[in-house]
Amino acid sequence: MKDHSILRSARTKSAVELVMHILFIVCGLLAVIAVLFISIYMIASGGPAIAKIGVFKFLFGQIWNPEAGQFGILPFILSSIVATALSILIAVPIGVGAAIFLTYMAGKKTGGIFLFIVELLASIPSVVYGLLGAMLVAPMIFKLQTMLSLPQSGSLLSATIVLVIMILPTIISVSASSLQAVPKTYNDASLALGSSKIQSIFKVLLPAAKSGIIAGIVLGVGRAIGETMAVMMVAGNAAMMPTLLGPVRLLTVGISLEWAYSSGLHREALYGIGLVLFVFIMIINIVLNIILKKGGKKA
């Protein structure tokens, strides 16, 4: 009889519930704390160096020469911006085109295989992209450099090409899923008015998927600006103002390249670069959130 009492198990059960409840709260808090900690740490460790060097001198100084006490990171900032912008400029049309193919032209089977390959592309470690870039892309650029009688070196162009390949999967899969979310009835309505398939895609379906595609682009920007390893292997890494066929050092590479042997103000300045990169990525994420919210409201 006692086994069937409605009172018996109540206490143990509620204890389990309570423990799980707390456990999940702790899990959630951990992530929040991590972000908070990183933010505080970056500001605390990067801030003083920037203050010592001078904000203007640091951000807009054109010469990076730690031995001589010159810590201008404008070449890094510009290289990062140019490499990211160029790779986005190239990757977006290709990525959106591939998403259109995937959504409207490939059949279920072809589309499935295609998507699988794209996702595979996304999961390849970046050092492998770096290897491929160094072995395949850079030599092609070397030929171009020789033709133009420039010194052979890693270059902005090589880095851009590698970045394009790396951000394509993000742009393809995000764009494809936002295209797939566009109601089929829009397409029907457009076709029934006598539009061609292509007109329908460009005038109705792409505009309807716009906010999702922009989100994909912003994610791609985030990925490109944060990439280190693959870029380091093909970019030449000289601390120079960016030129298309000359060597460049991006913000990320600026930190990792000199980290091991830096000390004193030099090391602090590397923290400063980290802070700049951190702020860049924060801005990108905030923009992304605003775009996503706007898109959500419309739908």
Binding site: A192, L193, G194, K203
Partner: protein
């Protein structure tokens, strides 16, 4: 009255499923023709053969003839975009594009190369008036079409269809997603529309068919069971199955 659309022994297969069986019908110009029948009887499928919207579904095969103004619709020489310009369609649930009211109506003009502002303005107004929605939207043409009520959206869709100046308007249960007042407005509109257009409407609602259509076609299991003047179909059906359906014995 002249025949606008004639079908002869029209058959349609979805893969192995035989969805339309030897449908032969003569649809009269400037009339409202109602297509009735239980769910899955092929009435919507039949409607979509008239502007070849079935082409967008993979695995569809059509045999037989569909003649629009004595021209075969199912031949290679047909430009489906021109066909669909001539044979417009309004769908079951309102499906305006996520653009402004104005752009929704102007869309069809733009894709057919009409871009001159004055002309577009004029046709947009005329189409919105034609669909009896001008007075409700004239002050907010730049607002999103999605801000309209369901009934207004459906009339906007009708205006969008009118803008490309079709001869025939196909309507696939255009009021099934609407409230009674919106339904009444669209039914009233129908009798206006037939002055200038030939209207073919699929409806689930037999009272609606009786109210608005001049001719009624009853479909069952992919067959056209009976076709004639609406008054005759509803008062003296010749076929036992039609009688059973309209008296509510099944369906």
């Amino acid at each position: 009255m002249a025949n606008k659309i004639i079908t002869k022994d029209l058959n349609l297969y979805y893969g192995t499923h035989h969805a339309l069986k030897d449908v032969s019908i003569e649809i009269k110009e400037h009339c409202v023709t109602g297509l009735i029948g239980p769910s899955g009887c092929g009435k919507s499928t039949f409607l979509k053969t008239l502007n070849r919207m079935n082409d967008t579904i993979p695995g569809v095969r059509v045999t037989g003839n569909v003649l629009l103004d004595d021209e075969e619709v199912y031949q290679n020489a047909v430009d489906v975009t021109q066909l669909r310009k001539k044979v417009g369609m309004v769908f079951q649930s309102p499906n305006p594009f996520p653009m402004s009211i104005y752009d929704n109506v102007a869309y069809g003009l733009r894709i057919h190369g009409i871009k001159k502002r004055i002309i577009v303005d004029e046709i947009v107004e005329k189409s919105l008036r034609g669909a009896a929605i001008w007075d409700e939207v004239k002050d907010r043409l730049k607002k999103s079409a999605l801000s309209l009520s369901g009934g207004q959206q459906q009339r906007l869709c009708i205006a969008r269809t009118l803008a490309v100046q079709p001869d025939v308007i196909l309507m696939d249960e255009p009021t099934s997603a609407l409230d009674p007042i919106s339904t009444m407005k669209i039914e009233e509109l129908m009798s206006e529309l037939k002055k200038n257009y030939t209207v073919v409407i699929v409806t689930h609602n037999m009272q609606q068919a009786a109210r608005i259509s001049d001719y009624t076609a009853f479909f069952l299991l992919g067959e056209l069971v009976e076709y004639g003047e609406t008054s005759q179909i509803f008062s003296m059906p010749k076929d036992k199955r039609t009688e059973d359906y309209i008296t509510g014995r099944f369906g």
